[in-house]
């Protein structure tokens, strides 16, 4: 039996789901989502839940500011946890402070009200912090956090209401095109026809694009994170210790979720490393000495899907009629998913995105070498 839909979305992560959501909002709901495992099982359920617009390029700042508005609106409408608790970037030397003073000006220029704060102000917001070695911070008041689990499940329900079909445990093996036009996909449970295909398959995207001779220069880099037992709310903002490329955030139910950059090679399988927890603990207990008495509950790894300039690739692929991509989010695809989904829906339905800067994010920039480098990536 061959099933036909107008659009097949490969990947049931946060990006695939938001894309379907905004398409269906526009009345485009003849969609089939194919997910090889369960919804959220890729990077989405492994993420640190953080949402911010304090980036270093116009593209990111403008789009993420809009993404925050969408998080606010949709969390209310669909009923999932989202909180605007802010971010504090912590600095340990003047050089860092200087660089972020400049970034802050850029944020402000595009309407994101970040500001440099003193150590005293850090203590005001995070009273139990050990300030030894800190010289100041950058406060991003509009940043926040959301529950990836609730977001995925509420989107799933909303999509089903709108008539979007979702098939889990179905792995796409190959994208099929004829004469430069999309025909459908071949999966481990049969062939599905479609006029359009959106690759939103996260770390699986590069392999999938290859099946249709499209080269996506993406690297899947393992990243590590852990979560502790839960406590009453201790502090609201997500904290970034820039020196260690580390972050700590108290998530919805009171657990502390944290991660940091440790050396990893791209395209490696996801291994847990015995050195990660002690390393992470050293950074966490430097900031919060009382964390020595806190138990770690879980530790896991997931991929950052890195593009050459740390911006996602979103939009149509010119060589193949009907092929679209939304991936390469470089470690910030959770926060970006609503705006990415909206941009995808605009490309597909309106032929052009509403935000001019979104046009800069297609695959073409990479082919033409017009990179737009993002500097504020961590974890």
């Amino acid at each position: 039996m061959i099933m036909k839909s107008e659009l097949i979305i490969i990947g049931g992560g946060i990006v695939g789901l938001y894309s379907a959501y905004f398409l269906a909002e526009k009345g485009f709901n003849d969609i089939l989502i194919l997910e090889k495992s369960y919804l959220g099982s890729g990077s989405t359920f492994r993420c640190a839940t953080g949402i911010r617009a304090s980036f270093t390029t116009e593209e990111h700042i403008v789009l993420l500011k809009e993404s925050i508005n969408l998080w606010k609106k949709l969390s209310r409408e669909l009923g999932f946890y989202y909180e605007q608790g802010g971010y504090i970037w912590l600095f340990r030397n003047e050089e860092q402070l200087k660089a972020f003073t400049e970034f802050s000006k850029l944020h402000n220029k595009f309407g994101v009200p970040t500001r440099i704060i003193s150590v005293d102000e850090i203590v005001e917001k995070v009273p139990m912090i050990n300030t030894e070695g800190l010289v100041g911070g950058l406060f991003d008041p509009i940043a926040g956090k959301a529950s990836p689990f609730q977001a995925v499940f509420s989107l799933e329900n909303a999509l089903k209401d709108k008539g979007v079909k979702i098939r889990t445990l179905t792995r796409v093996k190959k994208i099929i095109a004829e004469n430069g036009r999309i025909k459908g996909v071949e999966t481990d449970s049969g062939t599905f026809e479609a006029d359009k295909v959106l690759i939103a398959a996260g770390y699986g995207s590069r392999e999938l694009a290859k099946t249709i001779n499209v080269d996506l220069p993406l690297n899947n880099v393992p990243h590590h994170a852990l979560v502790t037992e839960k406590f009453k709310e201790a502090f609201k903002p997500l904290l970034i210790d820039w020196t260690y490329s580390a972050y700590i955030v108290q998530v919805q139910h009171g657990n502390f979720l944290m991660g940091m950059d440790i050396e990893e090679k791209p395209q490696q399988p996801l291994y847990q490393r015995v050195d990660f927890i002690p390393k992470m603990a050293r950074v966490a207990t430097r900031l919060f000495p009382w964390m020595r008495n806190v138990n770690v509950l879980r530790y896991w790894t997931g991929y950052y899907v890195m593009s050459p300039d740390r911006h996602p690739i979103i939009g149509p692929v010119e060589e193949v009629d009907g092929l679209y991509i939304a991936t390469g989010f470089s470690g910030h695809g959770f926060m970006m998913a609503p705006i990415a989904g909206e941009v995808v829906s605009e490309w597909i339905v309106d032929g052009k995105p509403k935000y001019r800067v979104a046009e800069n994010l297609t695959l073409r920039r990479i082919k033409e070498g017009k990179f737009i480098h993002e500097k504020a990536v961590f974890g």
């Binding site: 139990m128 037992e229 839960k230 406590f231 009453k232 201790a234 009171g254 291994y271 847990q272 490393r273 015995v274 050195d275 927890i277 002690p278 207990t285 000495p289 009382w290 964390m291 020595r292 008495n293 806190v294 138990n295 770690v296 530790y299």
Partner: protein, 480 residues
């Protein structure tokens, strides 16, 4: 408001057991001085003094002792300013300050000193995780052949579940026939502690399996990375649970929890008992509760017949204890502790039959509905797992030499599937001998000894009483 000042639940006279209590210690429970004995855990000392409630959940439900072996988190309390301490695994000491948690705890008020914390990488021929009968006998056997052994145990004492088994073991002398479980544990522990080839880590958790099968160990003393040529997972089992209204009320307890209290520490878990489940453990524990001076009101079994052996059933029947087959528990009630329970008959489809409810006046409800192998850690090695109900759930496939599908990774005892202590001891030895052969190459004596042990197990399991686990073992065994 501990109003239970004068309550003492310690058993001072027992028909077969004598409890050696350590030095008296004094500690503070919510500001009030209390006493306990060295060798007791905090939870045990509190329970002995009449404290039923250890904490309140976020929705204000009281929680108390349940598993008493560190597996359920029901005993979390604030100890010296540190929240979420598993008090059933934390030794009671002079001067401790203990408080109950109400909902989510505040962050720790104190900072543990980092000075003196060790951080080491250790190498060994044989890492044994879990010091129950399987792990202890494995460690001894490997050491006998000259292997370097590291033995890790989360508890503050060796012995696993064996320390609470008070019945005499059957079988031959070299398998401890005629001794009681806790005596076997004592003997094995003594040998292990005095063996120079075995390095014992007590109060140490093997918390994870990492890349290249490196094992992480954590204790109050430090953090250790272990690279081992062979690893045995003898991590035992945890108890199954039942869903019914009130199942988290203090006084609802696992059979193992009750055994821990009365057999390991000499504390009467309750006075009027309802036991759910008439398998061997349910029957034995009911009998042990009688010995500890409690009144057993009834034993309830959902199956049409008693699951345990006739000898055990006959023992409790002699005391006039009714065993209700085709019955289950409907609910438990009480304010801060169980004050009574309702049981109800079930039909062929396991549905409650309206109008058959019976109220039981009790303060203790024992749940004894089976065990689940503790394979969470083992599964992280990537060993192939299979769901085998006869063995209690998800278990690793393994050879008759106890080696899993990952070379050098072994499993023995309850962790490989629920049986009992005699088989755990034999399996531990078989695993150790296989490790010996992997490290030393061919050793005639080890090969012969292993052959005999494998044969012994096969014969032992021929008993018709063991047909169910025999079937499970067959399903789990792969070619070597």
């Amino acid at each position: 408001m501990p109003s239970s000042k004068k309550i003492d639940r310690r058993i001072w006279e027992h028909p077969i057991l004598e409890f050696k209590r350590g030095k008296e210690v004094r500690f503070y429970f919510e500001g009030e001085e209390m006493k306990g004995y060295e060798g007791e855990s905090i939870a045990v000392a509190l329970y002995a003094s009449g404290i039923d409630i250890f904490s309140w959940t976020e929705d204000n439900r009281p929680r108390g002792a349940f598993c008493m072996i560190g597996k359920c988190s029901s005993c979390f309390m604030v100890v010296n300013g540190i929240p979420n301490v598993r008090t059933c695994r934390e030794p009671v000491r002079d001067g401790l300050r203990i408080e109950r948690q109400r909902g989510l705890p505040d962050i720790p008020r104190v900072t543990r000193d980092e000075e003196g914390l060790e951080s080491k990488t250790l190498e060994t021929d044989f890492l044994v995780i879990g010091a129950g009968p399987a792990g202890l006998s494995a460690a001894l056997k490997a050491a006998e052949y000259g292997l370097d052994v590291i033995l890790v145990e989360d508890h503050f004492r060796l012995g696993g579940q064996l320390v609470k088994q008070t019945h005499k073991f059957f079988g031959s002398k070299d398998l401890f026939g005629g001794l009681r479980g806790f005596q076997i544990a004592e003997e094995l522990s003594k040998k292990v502690s005095s063996n120079p080839k075995i390095k014992v880590f007590l109060e140490t958790l093997a918390y994870g399996v990492f890349k290249d099968l490196t094992i992480g160990l954590a204790s109050k003393k430090g953090h250790y990375k272990v690279k081992a040529k062979n690893i045995l997972f003898s991590t035992g089992a945890y108890e199954n649970y039942l869903a019914f209204p009130g199942n988290d009320l203090p006084g609802v307890m696992g059979a193992g929890g009750a055994q821990t209290l009365m057999n390991e520490y000499g504390i009467r878990p309750g006075d009027k008992v309802l036991t759910i489940g008439a398998g061997n453990v349910g029957l034995i524990v009911s009998y042990q509760l009688l010995q500890a001076g409690a009144k057993v009101k009834a034993i309830v079994e959902a199956m049409p017949q008693i699951g345990g052996w006739v000898v055990h059933a006959a023992k409790v029947r002699r005391y006039g204890i009714p065993i209700y087959t085709r019955h289950t528990i409907k609910e438990v009630w009480g304010n801060n502790r169980v004050e009574g329970a309702t049981i109800v008959q079930v039909d062929e489809k396991w549905q409650p039959v309206p109008g058959t409810e019976k109220d039981i006046d009790c303060d203790l409800v024992i749940i004894s509905v089976g065990l689940t192998p503790d394979t969470k850690l083992l599964a992280q090695t990537g060993a192939k797992m299979k769901w085998i109900p006869e063995l209690g759930g998800l278990v690793a496939l393994r050879t008759k030499y106890m080696e899993t599908t990952v070379p050098g990774v072994f499993v023995a005892g309850d962790a490989k599937g629920i049986e009992e202590a005699t088989t755990a001891i034999v399996e531990g030895k078989i695993a150790a001998l296989t490790a010996v052969l992997r490290v030393l190459g061919h050793v005639d004596k080890a090969v012969e000894e292993r052959r005999q042990l494998v044969q012994y197990l096969e014969q032992y399991r021929q008993s018709p009483l063991l047909s169910r686990s025999r079937r499970g073992i067959e399903k789990a065994t792969i070619e070597s």
